[in-house]
């Protein structure tokens, strides 16, 4: 029986259900020290003095380490702008200023609270608008001295971290020819990942090498970043991964690990660190807040002649991966609906706030929010039905994205509109007083970054996949990769084991991000399995005295086609092979090729193409409480294309979970900044959706096998979060008869809009 398209048990379910699974935050070592960071209490200012004495008085505190004791260079993923510890000035509240080393966790935390950090405060650059205002103070006066990876020109200038400009030039003509000009400005806040397991690190130093045990989405990035920060070779760092208590992008870069490693070397003892709940909030690489202004030239017949998009996103105090994410608008505008000639400018700017970063569906939720709110606005201007107008405006196969990449299968979106209509209808959906319906579509990528897997056939006929792909909850490793190996090798899924990440033991892997694991690592496994299979068949053909082409492998047994009695098990084959020519194992690498594109399409672009796209349509029905202004999502339908569904139940779980996160972003979650400081400082204040706040999502999974994917699979886990806020906002706007152009949709704003609409 095929292992694909069924939903076998996760390999980690039993341990997780018994409370046996060891997460990073459960780790401990005999003789370990604890350390905690003393962080800047101010959003911006000059460090006048750091007094360690109050902290040293805390029982159990050993030492306070400051900038003078650590490497003095700046590092970063793209822009090397981040010091290990702030030396002369602080750029955000929560920036590390000193490390407190102690004999216990309580002492380390108490010590960190006691370090007296004397800062001469300056007025923080609090918002992107402020950062761009003429004469604004520079967040980093020395910005021009920061190195950029590969020497790329990313359009840096003062507070502008990165600028991506796509400008074909002839917009004015289109706007002059337009019957209508439709404009909108869409404002979206930060979103906090809110994974439950705090960030942590356990570092040891032995024989000139660092070992870092951690729960991390991307161990190889961590290896390289720790090496960069400490100024050692990447091979001097080994990262060992443990179960991850959620990440959603937050655990892709370095956080505490380099500090722990430095101390492990300094003390020659294991060093453990972990964020407090407050630290988690203060320094999480939230989804960036952004302002997206869209202006369209529209002809009476509904043709959008031109679209002008102006985006400002908040990088926070350091660049992080903002410069790369600034390419993403290029793949949203014009990739779903025809938007005519488009000019797109994206600026990512420094502010005196915590650095933003990667959160599931990077930039997507707010870009699709702008794109889809704008589509509703254009339809309303034209007096057209919103769904009908979307269908009329849909991009078509062969259209080019703004980067010049052909849209090969965008007609799948048309199918999605039909499928959703069959299930939930449109004209009668959301009918009734203060009820509404909204739609939002997306074309999302599958992250192409490299992976490697070794597949070995064990002597008992089971298989082990050796990889540093990380299981971040989705099941991509705990089921998906195992099913792919099982299918490729002809055995049951239960007989496949996947190793935990270890950068010493496996080939490079780019981590759990952008739904890449099933597609990229799955492909590497499928390729390696081809070689394993050929060894198996070769050996079996000798054992069974039959031609290899006449052999079939089913359920761990190789037999001669049509002669079921002539058979040998994979275990017997492996045994025989091991003691003759040697064990059967093979490795393979995969990286998705960059799709064809126009390299001159824009300046400052670091992400060049939109590989392995998947297609999405969401439809939300809501009702609004006239007394409280509260929004209830009554029905939610997702139609998602996944290539091939390897584990249907896991995909359902990703869709349901992604919608819940999107619903929180749309309605209840709050991450507000006031003069550079976060207003919401604990779990309660964030307003994460609860079980009673989330409706059951009805999911339609469409399959259009991708020839490059393992058995046709593309990525599936990330994108369900992308269209949600847009679909809900469109539904709320429909319900209240007024635009909803900023998030979150608060009850106050709904009551305001209702009052204005009356």
């Amino acid at each position: 029986m095929s292992a694909l398209g069924t939903s076998p048990d996760r390999s980690d379910a039993d341990a997780k259900l018994r409370g046996q699974a060891v997460f990073g935050a459960d780790l401990s070592r005999t003789g370990m020290l604890w350390a905690s960071l003393a962080r800047s209490p101010a959003a911006a200012g000059q460090i006048r003095a750091i007094d360690p004495i109050p902290a040293l008085r805390v029982d159990g505190v050993l030492e306070i380490v400051t900038a003078a004791d650590v490497p003095d260079w700046r590092t970063g993923v793209i822009v090397s702008d981040t010091p290990m510890l702030a030396a002369d000035y602080v750029a955000y509240e929560g920036e590390p200023v000193a490390i407190v080393v102690a004999e216990s966790r309580a002492a380390a935390e108490a010590g960190a609270r006691s370090v007296a950090i004397d800062i001469e405060p300056v007025e923080p650059v609090s918002t992107p608008e402020q950062a761009l205002a003429p004469g604004s103070r520079l967040v980093h006066p020395d910005w021009n001295r920061f190195a950029v990876a590969g020497g790329a020109d990313i359009g840096r200038n003062g507070n502008v971290v990165a600028e991506v400009i796509h400008d074909p030039g002839d917009l004015d003509e289109a706007f002059a020819a337009a019957d209508f000009v439709v404009e909108g400005t869409y404002r979206t806040p930060r979103q906090y990942q809110a994974h439950l397991e705090p960030k942590m690190a356990l570092a040891t130093y032995e024989s000139g090498r660092f070992t870092i045990e951690v729960s991390h989405q991307y161990p190889f990035r961590l290896r390289d970043r720790v090496a960069q920060i400490l100024g050692v070779a990447p091979s001097a760092v080994r990262v060992v991964g443990h179960h991850i208590g959620g990440g959603f992008g937050s655990k892709l870069d370095v956080s505490l690990e380099a500090f722990a490693a430095l101390l492990a070397q300094r003390y020659r003892r294991p060093v453990r660190m972990q964020h407090t709940a407050l630290e988690e909030r203060l320094v999480a690489p939230c989804r960036a807040n952004a302002i997206t202004a869209v202006r369209s030239a529209v002809r009476r017949d509904g043709t959008i002649l031109a679209t002008d998009v102006e985006i400002v996103s908040d990088s926070g105090a350091y660049a992080n991966n903002g410069p790369a994410l600034s390419s993403i608008p290029m793949f949203v505008f014009g990739s779903i609906y025809r938007v005519g000639t488009a000019r797109i400018r994206t600026r990512n700017v420094y502010t005196n706030t915590a650095p933003t970063g990667a959160y599931r569906g990077v930039n997507g939720p707010w870009l699709v929010f702008a794109n889809e709110r704008h589509m509703d606005a254009v339809a309303d201007t034209l007096g057209r039905d919103r769904r009908e107008f979307r269908l009329a405006s849909l991009a078509q196969d062969g259209d080019l994205m703004r980067n010049g990449q052909p849209l090969e299968q965008v007609s799948i979106l048309r199918e999605a509109f039909e499928r959703v209509n069959e299930l939930a209808g449109w004209r009668d959906a959301g009918a009734g007083e203060l009820r509404g319906v909204g739609q939002a579509a997306a074309v999302w990528l599958t992250n192409p970054m490299p992976g490697h897997a070794t597949v070995k056939l064990n002597e008992d006929g089971t298989a082990t996949v050796i990889t540093s792909a990380t299981e971040n909850g989705s099941g991509a490793v705990a089921t998906g990769l195992r099913q792919i190996a099982a299918e490729a090798l002809g055995m049951a899924t239960e007989r496949v084991t996947v190793t935990m990440p270890d950068t010493d033991a496996t080939g490079y892997d780019a981590g759990s991000q952008g739904s890449r694991t099933t597609h990229v690592v799955g492909r590497a496994i499928a390729d390696a399995s081809v070689e394993v299979r050929s060894h198996v068949l070769e050996r079996a053909s000798q054992m069974l005295e039959a031609a290899a082409e006449d052999l079939v492998i089913t359920d761990g047994v190789v037999s001669v086609a049509g002669v079921p009695t002539a058979s040998v098990t994979l275990g017997q084959i492996a045994q025989a092979a091991t003691w003759s020519e040697g064990p059967i194992a093979a490795g393979a690498s995969y990286v998705t090729p960059t799709p064809p594109h126009d390299p001159m399409c824009a300046t400052g672009m670091l992400i060049k193409g939109w590989p392995t796209p998947t297609y999405h349509l969401h439809q939300a029905e809501v009702s609004v409480d006239p007394v409280t202004g509260q929004v209830t999502v009554d029905r939610y339908v997702v139609c998602q294309e996944v290539g091939r569904a390897i584990h249907p139940d896991a995909i359902t779980g990703q869709i349901q979970g992604g919608v819940a996160q999107g619903l929180g972003f749309a309605l209840s979650e709050r991450v507000d900044l006031d003069h550079g400081r976060y207003v919401q400082r604990n779990f309660k204040a964030h307003g994460l959706p609860l079980a009673a706040d989330v409706p059951k999502v009805e999911a339609i999974v469409m399959e259009h096998a991708d020839p490059a994917g393992p058995f046709g699979a593309k990525g599936a886990a990330e994108p369900p979060v992308v269209p949600v806020a847009a679909a809900i906002a469109n539904a709320v706007a429909d319900a209240i008869g007024a635009p909803v152009d900023s998030l979150p949709i608060t009850p106050e704003a709904v009551l305001d809009a209702l009052e204005r609409a009356q």
Partner: protein, 288 residues
Amino acid sequence: MQYCRVSSVAEAVDELTRWGAEGRVLAGGTDVMPRFLQGEQVPAALIDIGGIEGLQGISEVGGVTSIGALVTMRRLATASLIALRHPALSQAAAAVGAWQTQTVATLGGNICSAASTADTLPALLVAGAQLTLVSKSGRRRIGLEEFLEGPGTTALRPTELLRAVELEPLGERSAEGYLKVARRSSMDVAVVGLALRLHVSPSGVIDGVRIAMCGGDRSAHRVPAAESVLLGTQLSDESGAFTEARAALADAVGPGDSVESQYRRRVLPGLFGRLAGRCSAEISGVVA
């Protein structure tokens, strides 16, 4: 910090006398422990009263409901006596936090912490709550309205222990309820919470009305202005007096112009309409 476990009211009072303002009573701890663990409030002693059997009872004797200070939210939310005689309190207790909170959080804790958002307080106020406080020098009774002096401050002296709460049970031709507006379905504190108790004469005239709210800048409080416009009016007269009461409630929010205050002002009239409609339907159902 000392941890003092007591098993009787007398022992508790001894410890309170010993520690005075330096001591902190620990019951369910849902308020005390987070503050302590985050280093916000570190008392010299935690006086754990959880083991005092005598503070655990719920009874109805002689037309008075008596609830021990250690009765938990979960018990209030699930006890049939409370559901029958004090539905507003039952609803309010069910609206506190989540199950994990309700398992340990006590009525006494909710009263003595006196948060401006405490759900049970409006429900207690409409039931005419009287508190019994004990100390070395004896016991005293005090009305809840008088007891609540401001957000987080009460008339409780450092050497006193709240022993029990006495309530007037819901009688015939009466109804009550509690409605809460919060950001999510559970877990969040009340942006605004509203309790209403109505009593009508056999001819359908409102001859008893109590309205109380929480969630503002003040402690939970009654809203006499709204009560007085309803008193003496016909229950069926939903247009006149009820409209006036709604306006009086909006005024009761106070002068603040914060986003929250403005929101409360807008929400309260409609919320009252909903609650009053529910209560009068219940009474009409009974009267009819």
